[in-house]
Each structure stands twice: as structure tokens, then as C-alpha cells.
């Protein structure tokens, strides 16, 4: 350890928060915000179909326990990036919207049904759906004002949604927590069905 004093540690953490709190440069807002870090960050958050699936990944991981609690949220962005690369390269992928909506239906149903399966099976299911989510983000990347900051934004937002799912899943340790998590799974499935049928 190089920084051992508590004051130095606090200063380091404060500095990190200051970096996050830095205001956007006004000089570049006209063109940049349409494709920068912020727009990349809000891209998954604005689409409820994305939000439902991402939260479901974290939730299901918590439900399955270790090591799925970290394997699924790690597998998702890795495979999502490959799907994003396919989108960036302009290769065709049929049924993207259907795949995204189905991800909510299937993952929600797995949580609702308290389905337990081998880790590799869960990773494959999550990985397959991640391709569709990544592709949807990837096709917008080359047109972004800055593809790098857009990519950073949407990957971080995706990971934070997984962490939100994990946090939500931790209520399973409390009385009736499991019932609550399964109910959330049911809601995600219903929302997915709504996306699939075009109702939502």
C-alpha cells in the first residue's frame, strides 16, 4: 500500500467523485450530447425492454447463487460487446427486437418459476440474449458523435442495471423475500410479453 493514511484515501475517493461531478463543456453541447457519454449512458436506461432484461440478469444470478451471481453479469457485457461489434460492422442479424423482447419474457419466467440449471446453461441463455441487446446498441455506434464515449456510457449503464438486479435479488435472504423476487420475475415476463405484442 502506497497511500496508507485515511486522509489520503478520503482525498483519493473525493477526487474520483469530483471527476464524475465535472460539468459538461458548454462549448461542445450542440453536437456532442447527441452521441457522447451521456447519450450512451441513457440509451439502455431509456428503453424499458433493455432495463427489464438487464435487471433480470442480475436478479436471476442472485437467485441461482454463487458463482452465477457474478458469472451472469460478467458474461452479459462480454457477449453484448460481440453483438455490438456485429452491429458496428453492419452485419445483418434478424429478429433483433423480437430477441430483446423475448429476453425479458424468458428471463422473467425463469425467475418466476425459480428455475435452477447448470451454470453453463444459464450462461448460454444469457449470452444468446446479450447478442441482440448488443446489436441494438452497436448499430447506433458509428453514427454517434463520439463512438468511444458512447460505448463507455452504454456498457457502464448496462453493468449498473445488472448491479441493481443483484441488489434487488439480495432481498431473498429476508422473510418473504423469495416471493417478492419471483413476483418481480412475473412482472418482467408480463412486460416482455407487452414488448413482444407491441402493447408497451
Amino acid at each position: 500500500m502506497i497511500f496508507t493514511s485515511p486522509q489520503t484515501r478520503k482525498a483519493l475517493i473525493l477526487f474520483s467523485f469530483l471527476l464524475v461531478a465535472a460539468p459538461a463543456a458548454i462549448a461542445h453541447t450542440g453536437e456532442g450530447l447527441s452521441g457522447g457519454l451521456l447519450s450512451g449512458f441513457v440509451h439502455p436506461v431509456r428503453g424499458w425492454d433493455h432495463v427489464a432484461a438487464m435487471v433480470a440478469v442480475g436478479l436471476w444470478g442472485t437467485f441461482l447463487g454463487r458463482p452465477a451471481i457474478w458469472v451472469l453479469p460478467v458474461v452479459f457485457p462480454l457477449v453484448m460487446a460481440l453483438g455490438g461489434a456485429v452491429g458496428v460492422l453492419g452485419l445483418p442479424l434478424p429478429g433483433v427486437e423480437t430477441g430483446i423482447a423475448l429476453s425479458s419474457v424468458v428471463l422473467g419466467a425463469l425467475i418466476l418459476g425459480k428455475v435452477r440449471m447448470p451454470l453453463w446453461g444459464a450462461a448460454i441463455i444469457v449470452g444468446v440474449f446479450a447478442i441482440f441487446h448488443g446489436y441494438a446498441h452497436g448499430i447506433e455506434l458509428p453514427t454517434a458523435a463520439n463512438p468511444v464515449s458512447f460505448a463507455v456510457g452504454f456498457v457502464v449503464a448496462t453493468g449498473l442495471l445488472h448491479l441493481a438486479g443483484i441488489a434487488l435479488g439480495l432481498v431473498t435472504t429476508r422473510p418473504r423475500g423469495e416471493v417478492f423476487v419471483r413476483a418481480v420475475g412475473g412482472l418482467i415476463t408480463a412486460a416482455g410479453a407487452g414488448f413482444l405484442l407491441g402493447i408497451i
Binding site: S16, V74, V88, V155
Partner: protein
């Protein structure tokens, strides 16, 4: 006063990046590598401070010789980001290297950081001082970030902290893969 100016410069540049503008002199490959190296501290810790310092300096020396010999190439940024992918995978897997492997990885980080620190404009050896500043700043950033990771995720940390670091490792891989894909379509580097 100088440090205040430096802080203001860093903060304003982060605002630019958030708004979607990346300054021409900001080395994307270097930033990704620095973050990946900082996150993989747990994997590299076995090397120890002395051995790590020697390995890092050796890597920087090798990188410098390579640049002076071959000049500025277009390929290295993609290779550097590819190396960041490896570091991200090691972080996500919570890989624990032995002393020799950790030293070799640190040596490669030194080389990669040097290659990634070549200034966008300027001919060598005139641009050498600018590159040296980039390397030193990168090394400082790696140390700061690794300290932050150690603070957040010490040996006996709650489970969620190690999960957060693993997930951050997977972010590095995902972002790097996307950058490589984008750079193949646009003239990013």
C-alpha cells in the same frame, strides 16, 4: 497553483468527454490500458513493489527502443487495446498470477503503455519528452487507480465488492472490443 490548474484541466477534459468530444491529444488506447492495469492489481500483486518497478521500467525501455527503431505505427493502438482485453478478462476471472507471470504481465504493461503514449503529432526524437510525460502520467494513474481498487476491494471485502470489481473487468473487455470494432470502420486512432 500548478496542481490546481492540473485538477481543473482534468475536470474540464472529463466534461468534454461526457459531452461527446474527445480531445485529439487524448490517447484512447492509453486510457483503456491504464484502467485495465489499475483494475488488475490483485492479479499483479504477487510481483511485489521492487520486482514490479524493475519489470515496468524494463517494459518502458523496450517500448522506447521499439518506437525509436520502428517509428510511429498505426497497428499498436489496436494491439494495446487487445492487451487491455486480456487484463480485463484476468480481472473478471479474479486470476491470481504467480511471481514470474505477474512480472511478465507488468513488463508487457510497461511496453504497451509506452507504445500507447506516442504523441499524435511530432517526430521522434523531438517528441520524446512529450511521450515521457505521457508514460509518467499513465504510470501515476495506474498507481492511483490500483490504490482505489485496493481500498474498495481489500482481502476480506464483502462479497459485493469483489463482484463489482469482476464486473468492472468485464466492462473493460466489452468497451475494448467495441472500440476495436469501431476503429475498424472509422479512422479512430
Amino acid at each position: 497553483m500548478n496542481s490546481l490548474y492540473l485538477l481543473a484541466a482534468v475536470l474540464s477534459q472529463f466534461g468534454d468527454v461526457r459531452a461527446g468530444y474527445i480531445p485529439a491529444d487524448l490517447k484512447v488506447a492509453q486510457v483503456i490500458l491504464v484502467v485495465a492495469a489499475g483494475l488488475s492489481i490483485r492479479c499483479l500483486a504477487k510481483a511485489g513493489i521492487k520486482r514490479a518497478s524493475v519489470a515496468f521500467c524494463g517494459g518502458v525501455a523496450l517500448g522506447t527502443v521499439a518506437i525509436l527503431h520502428f517509428g510511429q505505427l498505426n497497428g499498436p493502438p489496436a494491439i494495446v487495446i487487445g492487451f487491455a482485453v486480456v487484463l480485463g478478462v484476468l480481472t473478471a476471472m479474479r486470476f491470481s498470477a504467480n511471481t514470474a507471470t505477474a512480472s511478465i504481465i507488468i513488463f508487457l504493461i510497461g511496453s504497451a503503455l509506452t507504445v500507447a503514449s506516442v504523441p499524435a503529432n511530432g517526430e521522434f526524437p523531438q517528441a520524446f519528452s512529450l511521450m515521457a510525460v505521457n508514460v509518467i502520467a499513465g504510470a501515476g494513474a495506474i498507481i492511483c487507480l490500483s490504490q482505489l481498487v485496493v481500498i474498495i476491494n481489500p482481502e476480506r471485502a464483502p462479497a459485493w465488492r469483489s463482484i463489482a470489481v469482476r464486473i468492472a473487468g468485464s466492462w473493460i473487455v466489452a468497451i475494448s472490443v467495441l472500440i476495436i470494432a469501431v476503429s475498424s470502420q472509422t479512422n479512430l486512432f
